[in-house]
Symmetry: C2
Subunit: 264 residues, 2 copies
């Protein structure tokens, strides 16, 4: 197979139900990858989108990664039999000529296309993607319950604890059993009160995760880790600058995560 | 002051005089920043370009960083008196809403605009930029000799040592006194022969730098560092994955660079 066309659009996203919290002009990229494979009289098309955590990557997708995929021959992109996409070959094709060190922004662009080329692989195989990946990796793909969390808990301009409690109640009413809230924007003692407010609505700490959005430095990250540790939270995310590996390792020493291998 | 218009173009670049070495489709971004300040009856315009080491960043400049500069008010961008650009404010304006972790690619886009807004600051001040920066930082800006190096020494498809020697002779004929060559694409013993070939044309190791373009892992990087150390080279650049801080620190322990503080 080869890829005939990539379509890409940038769409604005709004993350917050409460208009008092600004969404910051976030957007995301959506792509459609049109293959030359036909199923039921129509080309097999794969869809993908980039992170909803910040910005789309239209420029990098259009200028570098999509043209390389489109320039890829059948041999460059296909499995040995030629009938479906080989993702490792497609990845090598997209990254040809890239230097090490373009982390962060670049991986969002490549990841968007990567998602979109897994989709046609599953469609060509006639399998749900989880089953295809299970077969490819030799892992058990028996359907079973998957824990899903709702992410929220941004800081309200006023009346924080009451509004936070109301937000979490709404998420639970929607059927969510696991929650993630933001921390690190208030003094630690206030964040601890916010965590206690949410935990009062949940069975235990294993149902709550916290995300500091990289706000901590070494000292405040270690202080937060020590204070959070007794709650047995599900996880502690985006603690400090993502490249401050030393602080991350030090925090991990203080904050032993309760998730057993394979449970996440 | 404020910025009235940013113009941006992507231009292809060719790095190699020898057509047997592919340039890999490299391009770069050039920008012109048009301010509302007039000098001699015309607007003051600043120019910048991005790294010539890989790709332009048209998408990021157009989608995120240029619009933020253009949206910046006089207060957002100007020094207290309002008559010229405040680069720290302009940087904050460009990075508003960005997450930590977008290294590599993003800094090229911001750096291109950053270069282009230093230029009008110097023009508005009526000073060469080195003098303006000297005044701003309280450092000595007395003109004096500046060491300049020529970068080359890529691997030729054949007849490597003879062609390398010819290339370096041409650079010296152009008046360059310092040279940088690429290493890490051949076995270490061959790179050592290449280095010896170049050093035979130079006064001493302090006139030669080497750039491994991130090719080494920990083991090969440490081996190269030990082998290079006796040559007293000017520097050893881009050794391994740029985020492999542990290997970089280990290599620095083996390869004590001969450059004294301030000499580089």
């Amino acid at each position: 197979m080869h890829i005939k066309e990539n379509r890409e659009r940038t769409v604005p996203i709004s993350r917050y139900a409460d208009p008092s919290i600004p969404s910051g002009g976030l957007d995301t990229s959506i792509v459609a990858v049109v293959t030359d494979v036909q199923r039921d009289g129509a080309p097999v098309v794969g869809f993908g989108f980039s992170s909803i955590g910040r910005y789309g990557q239209a420029g990098l997708i259009r200028d570098r990664f999509s043209p390389r995929l489109l320039a890829g021959s059948r041999d460059d992109l296909s499995t040995e039999g030629g009938d479906t996409i080989d993702h490792f070959k497609a990845w090598a094709c997209m990254m040809a000529g890239e230097k090490p060190g373009g982390h962060g922004v670049r991986c969002v662009a490549v990841g968007t296309l990567d998602m979109a080329i897994w989709d046609p692989a599953a469609k060509i195989a006639g399998l749900p993607l989880y089953r295809l990946i299970g077969e490819m990796t030799g892992r058990d793909a028996t359907p079973g319950p998957v824990p899903v969390y709702a992410s929220g808990g941004y800081i309200y301009p006023s009346d924080e604890l009451a509004k936070l409690e109301e937000e979490i109640r709404q998420l639970l009413d929607h059927g969510f059993t696991h929650i993630k809230i933001k921390i690190g924007f208030s003094p630690l003692q206030e964040d601890l009160k916010r965590i206690e407010t949410v935990l009062a609505l949940l069975p235990n700490g294993g149902h709550l995760a916290v995300d500091a959005m990289y706000r901590y430095d070494r000292e405040s990250g270690l202080a937060a880790a020590a204070a959070l540790q007794p709650f047995g939270l599900r996880w502690f995310e985006d603690i400090c600058d993502p490249l401050d590996f030393e602080t991350l390792a030090a925090v991990a020493n203080v904050y032993a995560p309760p998730i057993a291998a394979g449970e996440a």
